[in-house]
């Protein structure tokens, strides 16, 4: 079920009413309702893959229970290994099997050895990268004795499948979210009102900003050539806003929906395009994933301790793995690698934490913000392009400065109209985000009149007939 669908518009109020009016005084029934609702939400897309979620849930629940009883280090490692193999095995099979087979055959082919291998027609289960990382964090935390495992199967299953964040995050840590399922819920109006405001803002980012950008991005990244340097550069800029509106919009809706049920999810995006360097960008972009990699990959590898070479290795590993998490394509690996190269100079000069305290931005910092945005846009070209060769070709065309015509934005009356809507919607986005940054807020907060204004823009500027899929569903 999609957040921007009529189905969800019926589903959400129905679950809300049952949750707060029918099962109000019965915690386990509220959790049970959320679990059933979450499974329905997921099954709406494809019920066959529900089994994977149930499997992952059962494995990690059992492993965690086993870890409590196991005292010997060897047995504890074995149990952790079972969880890692099951979760990463599922992820590896559904997401990376064909990539590894193709890359293997391709590598031998380059050495002159011709191999034939069978690739499989595999459908990627929506959200698998998100919920496997979520359950993994639970098992690892229990293994590290940083978290006491839950004794309630229903609570754990609901934590894994919680529908607001099931298919595209935020990737919630068990430490943060699981205890909330054990706590009796009290309806907090202010909290819920903030949730509705976030839902409206998230829908605006997705349906107005991202989906209008998609109209041009799909043309410019189609690889058909014939576009000017200026058009292709703007294509990368528009993709930056598309993916941001799409993904952060989904996160905002998820956080807002969770608040309606009394749950607090972590902030996943904190205005990343106002970052003054790449290090700050990664503290503001997909925070739940970057902190996951920090805690479960980077720090165990040694983090920023040790020699310079070790630090460089750790950074490279984390960024490349992070890129690979996004998809089974070399384009994502290069994207991750590029960010590592942009980040390393800051780390080596110990400048990677210089804006941690300073959240408000100053006018003189504008060139730094623009520079960071432009390099992020160049990296997005690899993220969006279907292949490395297409990405290179596009970058070559951009950097050749062959022409500055912008015809794609005005060649028909529809293009002119959509250009105007796109520019206006981006300006609205930047206005509200700038205000939030200057007010030291972690999210955009709308007054009632502003919420109505944004909702009206949503109606008259949103894309309804052929909306683009949420980009992060494919990850």
């Amino acid at each position: 079920m999609l957040f921007n669908s009529l189905d969800f518009a019926v589903f959400l109020p129905l679950v809300f009413i049952l949750y707060w009016f029918v099962f109000k005084r019965w915690l386990s029934a509220q959790n049970g309702l959320l679990l059933v609702a979450s499974y329905v939400f997921y099954a709406w897309w494809d019920w066959r893959f529900l089994g994977l979620i149930v499997f992952s849930t059962l494995v990690d629940y059992a492993v965690a229970r086993g870890l409590v009883k196991a005292e010997k280090s060897q047995k504890r490692k074995l149990l952790l290994g079972i969880s890692l193999i099951c979760n990463l095995g599922l992820l590896g099979f559904f997401k990376y099997y064909n990539f590894f087979v193709d890359s293997w055959v391709d590598a031998w082919g380059r050495l002159g050895v011709s191999l034939s291998a069978q690739t499989l027609s595999i459908i990627l289960p929506v959200g698998i990268s998100f919920y496997t990382f979520q359950t993994l964090s639970y098992t690892i935390d229990v293994y590290r004795k940083q978290l006491k495992p839950t004794t309630s199967m229903i609570q754990f299953a609901t934590y894994v499948a919680f529908f607001p964040q099931l298919v595209a995050g935020p990737i919630e840590r068990a430490k943060q979210l699981l205890p909330q399922f054990a706590t009796p819920r009290v309806f907090n109006s202010e909290f819920a009102i903030g949730g509705v405001s976030l839902i409206i803002w998230g829908l605006f980012k997705k349906m107005v900003v991202a989906d209008n950008c998609a109209f041009f991005v799909n043309q410019l990244f189609a690889g058909s050539g014939g576009y000017s340097s200026a058009e292709l550069f703007l294509g990368a800029v528009l993709f930056a806003f598309q993916i941001y509106g799409d993904f952060s919009g989904y996160s905002d809706i998820a956080i807002g929906v969770a608040r309606l049920f009394g749950f607090r999810l972590m902030t996943n995006f904190a205005f990343p395009y106002f970052s003054r360097d790449i290090a700050e960008f990664w503290r503001r972009w997909h925070i739940s994933l970057s902190t996951w990699f920090r805690d479960y990959v980077y720090i165990p590898l040694g983090g920023s301790r040790g020699s310079k070479w070790l630090q460089i290795r750790n950074v490279l590993v984390v960024f490349i793995v992070s890129g690979f998490w996004h998809g089974a394509n070399w384009t994502f690996i290069v994207w991750g690698g590029l960010h590592a190269l942009l980040f390393l100079p800051l780390l080596l000069q110990q400048k990677n934490r210089q804006y941690i305290q300073e959240t408000r931005i100053q006018l003189y910092q504008l060139p730094r913000i623009l520079y960071t945005f432009v390099v992020v846009c160049f990296a997005w070209v690899f993220f969006r392009a279907d292949s490395l060769s297409l990405a290179w070709a596009m970058l070559e065309d951009v950097l050749s400065f062959q022409s500055v015509t912008l015809q794609v934005f005005y060649h028909s009356s529809k293009s002119v109209l959509l250009s105007a809507i796109t520019v206006f919607s981006i300006l609205v986005l930047l206005f509200y985000e700038y205000r939030a940054v200057q007010n030291n807020q972690r999210e955009v907060i709308l007054t009632p009149y502003e919420a109505v204004f944004i909702a009206i823009l949503l109606v008259f500027m949103g894309v309804y007939k052929n909306p683009a899929d949420f980009i992060y569903f494919q990850f």
């Binding site: 009149y449 009206i456 109606v459 008259f460 309804y464």
Partner: protein, 279 residues
């Protein structure tokens, strides 16, 4: 909870109120302008009696130029064809024409040849153009007769217009702003309802092969058009426009057919397989 419901209620009511007002205004503006054919027929076409009308899709729109026909025959006709529409839309247009109090003794039907044998018609891509007249019984009944999401939205827009105007915002809301500023602005048709596709080539390319296609006229809306014409004493004439790759035959029919499917022998005259160009 009470505070939450009060707040959400306020936001929701204000939002629905303002959006509905904008949507009503938008449909009103479209009715005052000539941007699409339905309102063009009502607002800009002064005459109420025509010697003939042309109904059709883009093939009718671009093939039969009523200005040329009238200059030769000394008649008065109007082209009511709309691009990206099917026989169902042409039936609706005929109802709209008659519902506007206008009359004609001859109706020339120049629909897409692929549409005559569709047995399970669906809502056409441009049927939203009748939404400004959604309160008319025949428009409402038309939308109600289909079952897909777009039809549901259009059908319910009669009492909740922000549904349709929002869903088709690029096609309805922004054109309504154009209609407000420039009421006589027409969307790709002239004062007689005609439109020509541009000439893309000047090179002569003789057509040597056309595949055969026989029309059965199985589309249920064809029968509806026939019946509506019969009730209103209108002679129905089916016009089959020139086609670049198909030679159409119709067999024996109880209505008149002018078959020009293989009339043109040079690709020079075609914009694409289905449409002739301005030459």
């Amino acid at each position: 909870m009470r505070l939450f419901l009060k707040h959400i209620g306020f936001v929701l009511l204000l939002f629905i109120g303002v959006s509905s007002a904008i949507a009503y205004g938008s449909l009103w503006a479209l009715r005052q302008g000539s941007f699409y054919k339905p309102s063009f027929l009502e607002r800009q076409v002064a005459s109420s009696s025509f010697d003939y009308i042309v109904l059709g899709s883009s093939t009718g729109l671009t093939t039969l130029n009523t200005q040329v026909i009238d200059s030769v025959l000394g008649t008065q006709g109007i082209n009511l064809s709309m691009d990206d529409t099917a026989l169902s839309s042409q039936y609706l247009m005929l109802q709209h024409f008659l519902g506007s109090g206008k009359q004609t003794p001859v109706c020339i039907l120049a629909a897409s040849i692929l549409d005559y044998d569709v047995t399970d018609p669906v809502l056409s891509g441009n049927d939203y153009r009748f939404l400004p007249y959604g309160s008319e019984g025949y428009v409402q009944a038309y939308y109600d007769s289909f079952s897909d999401d777009s039809a549901w939205i259009l059908s319910n827009s009669n009492w909740f217009p922000m549904l349709g105007v929002g869903y088709f915002n690029v096609e309805l809301f922004y054109p309504s702003l154009v209609s407000l500023i420039e009421p006589n602005k027409r969307n790709r048709f002239d004062a007689y309802g005609n439109y020509s596709y541009p000439t893309t080539t000047q090179v002569s390319r003789p057509i040597v092969l056309r595949h055969g296609k026989t029309l059965q006229f199985k589309n249920p809306y064809f029968k509806k058009i026939q019946d509506l014409c019969a009730v209103n004493d209108i002679t129905l004439l089916v016009y089959i426009p020139p086609h670049k790759t198909l030679a159409v035959s119709t067999g024996f029919t109880s209505f008149s057919v002018i078959n020009h499917s293989d009339l043109l022998q040079d690709g020079l005259y075609f914009y694409d397989d289905f449409h002739v160009n301005g030459l």
